[in-house]
Subunit: 379 residues, 2 copies
Amino acid sequence: MTWESIERLKTAAERNALAISEVKAAGRKVVGLYCLYSPAEIALAAGAVPVVLCGTRNDPIATAEQVLPRNLCPLIKSSFGFAMEGSCPYLSAADLVVADTTCDGKKKMFELLGEMKPVHLLHLPSTPGEEALPFWREQLSGLVKRVESDFGVTITDQNLADAIKLANRERRALKALMDLPQMEPAPVTGMQMLEMLFKLGFFADRETIIELAEGVVNEVQAAAKAGTLPERKGGPRILLTGVPVGMGSHKVVRLIEECGGQVVCMENCTGYKKADLVAETGDPLTALARRYLSTPCSVMAPNQGRFDLLEQLVANFRPHGVVDLTWQACHTYNVEAYKVRNFLRDKFDLPSLHIETDYSEADAEQLKVRIEAFLEMIG
Amino acid sequence: MTWESIERLKTAAERNALAISEVKAAGRKVVGLYCLYSPAEIALAAGAVPVVLCGTRNDPIATAEQVLPRNLCPLIKSSFGFAMEGSCPYLSAADLVVADTTCDGKKKMFELLGEMKPVHLLHLPSTPGEEALPFWREQLSGLVKRVESDFGVTITDQNLADAIKLANRERRALKALMDLPQMEPAPVTGMQMLEMLFKLGFFADRETIIELAEGVVNEVQAAAKAGTLPERKGGPRILLTGVPVGMGSHKVVRLIEECGGQVVCMENCTGYKKADLVAETGDPLTALARRYLSTPCSVMAPNQGRFDLLEQLVANFRPHGVVDLTWQACHTYNVEAYKVRNFLRDKFDLPSLHIETDYSEADAEQLKVRIEAFLEMIG
């Protein structure tokens, strides 16, 4: 099924790499971000352009393995391979890369990246509890100072508050988009949603992101209201949880839908982990610290937020099954998979399939057999 | 070559498991420790017995893999397997396990261990910098409160200061022991040193540890002075760096010495990372926080302390080559290996061999070939 607004988004996204070089040529600073723990608002507050960096393609991995171990998460190897090859236009444009000590592999990779690019490393605590908030706020404060010093600007509380409001508008637009598949059958496929969410990350202008996301929501909702939603076969509804995915690392989403399932929700950093708002009142840096620290990634020990989010998403998206995706050698998601399986079974009687894979197509046929069997079981 | 004092140590160690149950039967509390970031002094200050927990044998790993992923460091899987099987007498005796969020695998494993045993998790920052010190001191303060509450005791600053002095005496004794192989040829083998350091970790009484370590130092130094050191063929002197090793995970040390090398120093948590003293003046909890946070493990980003320590050890132990050992799937040591190799080559023109392995004997023959070739090259 095709939507005019989705085509518009995809066409607009084709200019993203060019747009970032134009923005840079016009004298604006560019801040590259790898991880959801790194607050885009600080770049926005500095009048700079925050942009997500590349890390979802398989082809730079061989290059990365000249320096990094093979037994490391493909996302980390891909990111580093892009940097070694100079093949990510957003990284090339970045005046500063904001990194954080999310996981073992990333924090050590960022040390090596720091020899190629200016990297500001945020030391992320391993607990989202209030006990860690002052330390994390100080880390964000250090980033504010670094951006001020590197870019020769002053970041006021008002700048931060304005940036929070803008980023929250974007979050609301993305959440409305991600909520569309609550309809049955879902009006957009998981692959369509993934492509949209992925491509929206590379726009230089936040208003464009908001406008494009709202355009899709409006078109779909209007069709639903008018009873003109295109016909669609509804297969088993699948909630995808676990590691982030993107174009180039979309294998499992593609396979689920090729096998007749519908990926209706992504509990990951590509998807729903982006949706939570930042408080718009009080000290803006504390609000940012609190919100970003509460991102329910498996690097937190324990990571209660993920189970709370899963509970909410199961209620809202009514999946028939859950696919829990772990990138190879991502220890935290891999170990947490045990708890996730038990939680879904004990609390919702919901079957789940844990998949550990990488970006390559080597295991695609084998995965297809497992996914088909899983869909048949729950179908 | 045999030393009476080493035989005495080994004989005494045979009673360790029994001793811990006697101590417990006598009403003393036992605190289990997995990692060098967890301060034994807090247990000592509470009048409890700190003891290292099991995690160096291969056989419990199959059990652990029922719950944990296969692609995880053998040390973590072994520790968890011991817990599942109830086969570590020290863990069985432990009233409280002190754990820390050292690395991705450990912090997530400790979540699961918490369902079996009372675990107090310390949130370790990823930087040894002063910026992290107040947060880390608060973590240690939280452990003091937990121990006070669980054991019904009060821990005063004087208790902590006394514990620091005792632990420092132990550190001085262990350092003197570890310094013996500065002699050429080394008067004790790497395997003998490893066995001593490993077994000393399981004694319930610190004075016994000090006495046994000093006994070996005194006997060897007396023989050196008297010119009665036993004859020993001196092969290439090897500095071992990287992950901790112990009895059961001693494969690489054994192979190096079977191939004619002498392991003269271990820059790891079994060896020299233990040696640094805690300041005996000022606020004791701050002194503990500063010292423990400065442990130069690869989980720190960056981990300058390791390079400083390597520089000092290269000067003092005069190795002909370095073996850098990484347990499979230990991402931080695995990524840091790249920097270590370059550092040793560029700074000291010192050849190094990076080995990634697990606790099994599956690759022993293959490793032997690589180690033989390395020793031949540097010999």
